[in-house]
Symmetry: none
Subunit: 203 residues, 4 copies
């Protein structure tokens, strides 16, 4: 008794997995269809093309992420606390959806250049900006509250998300055994206090 919306979401979820595993070009629409338990043609009832399915997949995932994080933040007032819970949620989300994060930046920025249509390029960038904007806004409020250094919030959020993403990725690639809580503590500490050992201050 699935309705249309359910089926669309089913396809999006499967698509996330498959795109994540193989990247845009290596993914066959038929693979997604089969895994979603529908026929090839059915995918085209819901998405105009493979490319549009890809956009929708990323958008779906990012919106899911933002929603999740917002829920977790609900009721928290202090900007720094909000930032911390935001980082934690982001970290958890990235961990659970780590594969799709492997391809977002790349496919978005690089692969899409082949399609000389500026339209697609713009869509890519637009989705990407959305995902950053949320983090950037958090930064702003922390800067305004005097918690963080007055650096361009875009740079700050870039630094944070880059740091987080690559730590997640590399801990997988290099098989580092570390539990999520430890991981989170290290990441937050690195971002907020830096890597430098502060001997003097600790004395």
């Amino acid at each position: 008794m699935e309705n249309k919306e359910d089926k669309k979401i089913k396809i999006l979820k499967v698509a996330e997995t498959v795109f994540a595993e193989k990247g845009f070009h290596a993914t066959k629409v038929e693979d997604i269809a089969n895994l979603a338990g529908v026929a090839k043609g059915t995918v085209y009832l819901y998405f105009k093309s493979k490319e549009q399915l890809f956009f929708s997949t990323i958008k779906f995932m990012i919106q899911g992420m933002i929603e999740t994080i917002k829920e977790r933040m609900a009721g928290i007032e202090d900007p720094l606390d909000r930032l911390k819970i935001g980082i934690k949620s982001y970290f958890e989300y990235v961990t659970h959806h780590k594969q799709i994060f492997f391809i977002i930046l790349n496919e978005e920025i690089a692969s899409s250049r082949k399609s000389c249509e500026k339209d697609n390029q713009k869509k890519h960038v637009e989705i990407y900006r959305q995902s950053q904007k949320f983090v950037t806004d958090l930064m702003k409020s922390c800067i305004d509250a005097g918690y963080l250094k007055p650096i361009d919030p875009v740079l700050l959020s870039s630094a944070l998300s880059g740091l987080l993403q690559k730590m997640v990725v590399n801990s997988i690639v290099f098989n580092i055994d570390i539990n999520p809580d430890q991981f989170y503590s290290i990441a937050v500490d690195l971002f907020l206090n830096g890597a430098m050992l502060r001997k003097e201050a600790e004395k």
Copy 2:
């Protein structure tokens, strides 16, 4: 009057540009051949397949990077100074080769999975590890010298390279106008001292 080695290097340089611009799948061997001024078949005299050419291209680029950085570091003893000059060189290299960095991780981890041969997967990871190892070694020496916090050096180097890469990428995507020196200062400060504002009261 090029000899064989010259021609091979010519192809590798062109390949870096083209792969960087379009990503692995969207790049046609013929494009690379044309731009390198040779025939399609000639590429196959030097590289067994498109995939092997891709590996070689990345390897070539990363080795070039490591060499460049080593040269810049030559004669510097203090680990922290070495780290700083390393960051600066790395930053400059990434800036000049930024496009290929957009695709390395992604293509490596994700796209190559289509070839179920674990061999390729291994090669990818191997190259990637090389590129990280150099930074990781720098971290180690700084930790040993008591400059940096005793965090797993792989995590530290991941944090650094993620932070740098994404700052570079986003400053482009979001059109942030900032000169390289400023950029470098902010990045190093963020990495070493963190984003947290240290008020007078904390002194």
Copy 3:
């Protein structure tokens, strides 16, 4: 509150327009259904397949033409007058349905061959013969009455219909500005008296 027959005729009329505009293969059953204000599946309640719909469409149109022409001829006795009024009616009908005439012969003879079933081929030819038979009969009576040369009436009717059709088509393709009455006069004169200029001396 349409009954079944009305709905069938509605579909046939729409089908004529769409097939005429796009030809058999480029026409989608769904287009016809939408324009006829019914659902795709409904078309299949009335017609077994797209191909059968196509046959029915042509048959419907040709029967309409024959009926129209017969009505116009009613009460006229003289074979030559009947022929002339027939040509005029045919000309008018072709003019109003010119698009479908563009594709009848072609699709009939050529495109349908893909279905190796001789059945379809036969159906096509049958419909086509019907459309010619009427003109051919007119020719016969004119020959019998001594008005026309005793040439095989099939050839005569072919010559006439080819001449008319192509004049209509080309006057469109080449943007010739000519009113229907003039057009008709020229066509009839050409057919009956030929293109040759009959000089005084020949009298």
Copy 4:
């Protein structure tokens, strides 16, 4: 030892046969390739697309026709004789290439409309005009020489070619047994002198 031009012409000749037999849409590029003894991909070395192959095929055939007719006319001065030999040659050519003539008009005018690109429409019309222009020029010279009635030469040539084509087609469809010479005589007589029996004049 075929060179490239030979192979291109081989493909064009095969394409003429196959397009003629099945029409544009029902023809598979692979069929043409197989019949031409090359691989599917090879066709695309010589022709950018199926559509372009179709245009080229028709153009090739029409140019062949015009050349053939011109050769047959070489040395003949009198416009009416030129017209007669032209008709004869045209008739012979159409007879030998009758199948492709079944689809030219239709596919050109009708089917091509689906591609909303005006470019294709224009190409179609252009090729079609070329094929008519030759006949139209013949008409002009006969009109100027006082042989034919001063009717718009485009209409005259349309009448002639329509008359000829449909006579050929129908003599096939209706299995009329008639030899080429007879056929030619009837067609020329019909066109020049009309279908009307001229009792008076013959007395």
